[in-house]
Symmetry: C2
Subunit: 473 residues, 2 copies
Amino acid sequence: MLTRPSPDGGATETALTRLAQMLGPRVSRAAGVLADHGRSEAYHAASPPDLVVFPETTEEMRGIVTICRDLRLPIIPFGAGTSLEGNASAPHGGVCIDMSRMDKVLATSPEDMDVRVQPGITRKQLNAQLRDTGLFFPIDPGADASIGGMASTRASGTMAVRYGTMKDNVLGLEAVLADGRVIRTARRARKSAAGYDMTRLLVGAEGTLGVITEVTLKLHPQPEAISSAVCAFPDLKSVVGTAIAVIQSGVPVARIELLDAVMMRGMNLHAKLGLPEAPHLFFEFHGSKGSVAEQAETAQALAGEFGGQDFAWATAPEERSRLWQARDNTLYAGLALRPGARALVTDVCVPISRLAECLVATAADIAESGLVAPVVGHVGDGNFHLLVLHDPASVEEVARVKAFNERLVRRAIALDGTCTGEHGIGLGKIDFLELELGETVDAMRLVKQALDPLGIMNPGKIFRSSAQMGGAR
Amino acid sequence: MLTRPSPDGGATETALTRLAQMLGPRVSRAAGVLADHGRSEAYHAASPPDLVVFPETTEEMRGIVTICRDLRLPIIPFGAGTSLEGNASAPHGGVCIDMSRMDKVLATSPEDMDVRVQPGITRKQLNAQLRDTGLFFPIDPGADASIGGMASTRASGTMAVRYGTMKDNVLGLEAVLADGRVIRTARRARKSAAGYDMTRLLVGAEGTLGVITEVTLKLHPQPEAISSAVCAFPDLKSVVGTAIAVIQSGVPVARIELLDAVMMRGMNLHAKLGLPEAPHLFFEFHGSKGSVAEQAETAQALAGEFGGQDFAWATAPEERSRLWQARDNTLYAGLALRPGARALVTDVCVPISRLAECLVATAADIAESGLVAPVVGHVGDGNFHLLVLHDPASVEEVARVKAFNERLVRRAIALDGTCTGEHGIGLGKIDFLELELGETVDAMRLVKQALDPLGIMNPGKIFRSSAQMGGAR
């Protein structure tokens, strides 16, 4: 039964009644709950939904999607709320699906090195539950994001240089499509050539093609040995040169992270690292004991050729975790440089051969723009972030920061790079997507229309929303 | 200008005239040329196209697609002709696009470890041209397939356990869509979260969504050292147990291939290997000199725990290449067991935890069916092939072989596996795809209809063809 909602928002009332019949108290329109689900870690304005639901099963999810489809209400999946481009905000209102109660590990197969989980589990929760299996899930975007959210934004982070991104580590998905159909995109074989790769079509789709209800993930053996190293460099070029040399040498480096002098100042302030305020590389090596020693020696020798100094390596867990915890907290370290400020977090990624050029031009732009913007980079992938500090109340500063970001994106695209290495398009990069991929975006839109003809799945993300929702504001 | 072709095949005449205007002598309907492009390495009946064209540029490709679209003629891309499921045959006639003149390396970036090529270049041609760069392209499906064909079927092969499949090694594509639009699916950044993953939608689409005109590939450092090893085992279970243990131990094995006793007999006949006629594992290790020695020692120790005998390893290039050349030629080694026979090559892939069970049940089925069917397996991925020997002229034998294959596929799917690890669906597995993925295939069909509404792109592959082609037989 299809009902056309009245433009006065009667659809939301009807949805509330029907959802409460199914979910009991697990539907809310309390102001605080709505506000919590509309806020953003980033610079986007808050956009709360009209309702929030807390399903526990795929069957409930199918019911929610069916109700929203009948009433033409937007559906917005919400994981841990750590996305940076407004990916889970609700600019057209609608029903926010909070995944926090879908946080179960459904099946672990140590022999197959895979695990099937509900989408609301976070990566740290998952790794805690895997501890005794000898396996781990390596993708580490810094924040303790949910697995479903990480799949939806094609997240990657510090270990992508060794273990790949979410596209490489999702073996299959279960999802509810806009028509209420539940699909399972792949069976559990390690690889398959069976038709279109619907798994990777949904990974990175930001909930605009369907709602993910289960994720099967590839796991990796916990390394026998781990060692870390830090090294200071005279300039950004020598940092990038070292990274290229290390990767080309075949060292299977697990992490290789750039931190610029400004970021090192923030980290010294925030985490009391006591390291020189110069550009640094942080390394992590995984392997057998012999192999991690050999890897570190090769990296040290190569860093030396580029003027790297004070190469120091550590195998003790406490030292390693102090270092990488500081790295995970760079957002707060950056903010420590200007108390009260917020950060626009940029996300360009360029071919590594163009990375030094991009970093140097961007540093000049920062200086000319009078901005404070520490840099942290997944240098092995050519992906780096600036935390562009600003006062969100200052219209002038916000405009200056946005203009800087646009120049940065245009610079990266001119160097054959992308506007987003790992944060996704969300609300914030719709125009940049067109700039980057041109007519390919038209083909994406055809796919969107085919799978979500009513435009109810996370509208306004990746593309500007079409005007087909009944509940739209 | 759209012209409705007459049902008498006037469309083909019109196409010939227009294509000859554009391509001169690079369009053919000579009987031998048509037959060459309709044959198959596999058990499928020959299905020649009506015309064959030999374009050299993307612009010519766009012209060909536009002409075919106007005339509603099927478009069938053809690489090296090594596919096994009739993926490049022309069951509805139409225009076959032979890629052999689009065989150029367009740009190599050693720093970025990537290369941009035309789709007709074969993997061996590519690696010959990369030799001096210190880099290589590892995906090795055995046959000297074209890169475009490998992308289109999501090929993998012996090194996938270490380096991934085509989905992991294609960074981006240029393709002509059914409407004549040329899209570039990604820029050259190592990773991106910019919208839908159109790259991986086209990888594995078997030419049913567009014609690939360029491929950008990830390259890998040529390993400093390579070593190989062979080891005999008492039975299939101990082979699989060893493989699981090696992978779980974190040894980054580059190849780990199963060959059963029957296949070893064929290889002894064909390549004079002189190895025991027992189940074997062939290993290859890549890394530093120290690392490959360590990897081989670990593998040897683990093989010993499962009853492996006569573990022998080799680092001399001649010895290694003799071994792996024999492995690459298993199709011919298998055929040596029954001169004059053809082989139906099966391609199931199951979770590795179910692999021993699947292999043992399949061996029993072979025996009960009175078939000769040597086994070769990418055991690290759970993927194995049987070369089911038969006399193609015997209706009874062909039926028996097909019934065996269907039981095998049903067995693999019941074990949560796939009907095809790497050969694709083509003509041969359309029903199995439905069996494996159910309603997910409906979602694939929606994507197909969105991007190819006229149904002209390689019709009859992956899905049964719709009846929209003007030139259909």
